[in-house]
Amino acid sequence: MVLSQFRFVEVGRVAYISYGPDAGKLAVIVDVIDQNRALVDGPCSGVSRKQMNFKALELTSIVMKIPRGLRPGNLRKAWEKQEVQKKWDSTTWAQKIANKKKRAQLTDFDRFKLMKAKQARNRLINVEFGKLRKTVKRPAPRLRKKKSVKK
């Protein structure tokens, strides 16, 4: 067990709120209250300073360098200085969420265009694959001995 493979709950850990009224927003763990709860604040993402159960928080890979209990005003400055939003947007996690949202907003015509685009891409892929297949020397297929028919 290598400790560096884990994301720890710590002051400054940026978390993604998975459910509740603030679902989908980012917040920073400003302090730990007890075994189950943290004091959480997201001044730039619309999360007011509040206690939250860890169950609702999904830890991201972003950690801010802030002192424990940093007040909202200074927290906002730190958030903007440390470019938390930028770091988050560049993660695949955030991109996946954005793509899901986009897909949900596709109109019927968009879905048709997507289908056509996929078909065109797959045709290109299959053509290349076919070419590759022909270049590989395949071993002669092993013939299975036919079972002799008993007379």
Partner: protein, 222 residues
């Protein structure tokens, strides 16, 4: 009759002819009763209604011609609709206008998906967000509800020896329908050709709509 007598007496000097017509002398048999009476020729009515013009009670039934037809705000001229029921279910068609009966007038266009100029009820359509600019399209004047009414086909008359010989009259498309179809479709195809995504639009209108797994209509945007 007692009331009638003084009336007659008063009217007599004024219009002799009238009183004589209104009242009639009737003889009465028996003695000691005056012998005759002046009786009205035409009897007075037994019933007088309290209202001269009785008011009709309000009925909530309205005739179809007086119905108000609303149209979903998502359906505007040029919208691509998905037909969900009927002969052309699954097809994507172009909405032209709402007729007086409230039904929607649509066209395939016919060359793209085989749907002709047709009426459909808006409840059997899904309005998509795709809209064509139909402001320049002129529809023939004669396209109204009467034009689209079903024609009564003559049923074959069964005569003695000809039960299976007489052919049933089959519906054939009239020439004026073909004319109108060509006229309207030409304009609509021109509109599509001017569009940036014309190739995809042609394919789109020619294809059928279907739901796949994990596609839930209430969650989808059309």
């Amino acid at each position: 009759t007692k009331a009638a007598k003084p009336k007659a007496a008063a009217a007599k000097p004024a219009a002799k002819k009238q009183t004589q017509a209104r009242l009639v002398k009737k003889t009465i048999g028996g003695d000691k009763n005056g012998g005759h009476r002046l009786v009205r020729k035409t009897r007075m009515s037994r019933y007088y209604p309290t209202e001269d013009k009785p008011r009709k009670l309000r009925s909530r039934k309205t005739a179809f011609s007086k119905h108000k037809h609303s149209l979903r705000s998502s359906i505007t001229p040029g919208t691509v609709l998905i037909l969900v029921a009927g002969r052309h279910k699954g097809k994507r068609v172009v909405f032209l206008k709402q007729l007086d009966s409230g039904l929607l007038l649509v066209t395939g266009p016919f060359h793209l998906n085989g749907c002709p100029l047709r009426r459909i009820n808006q409840i059997y359509t899904i309005a998509t967000k795709t809209k064509l600019d139909i402001s320049g399209v002129k529809l023939p004047e004669r396209l109204n509800d009467k034009y689209f009414n079903r024609k009564q086909l003559k049923k074959p008359r069964h005569t003695e020896g000809e039960i299976f010989d007489t052919k049933k009259e089959v519906y054939t498309v009239s020439d004026e329908r073909k004319e109108d179809q060509v006229a309207v479709d030409k304009q609509i195809l021109d509109v599509i050709r001017k569009n940036k995504e014309k190739k995809l639009l042609f394919g789109y209108l020619g294809s059928m709509f279907s739901l796949g797994s994990r596609q839930y209509p209430h969650k989808m945007v059309f």
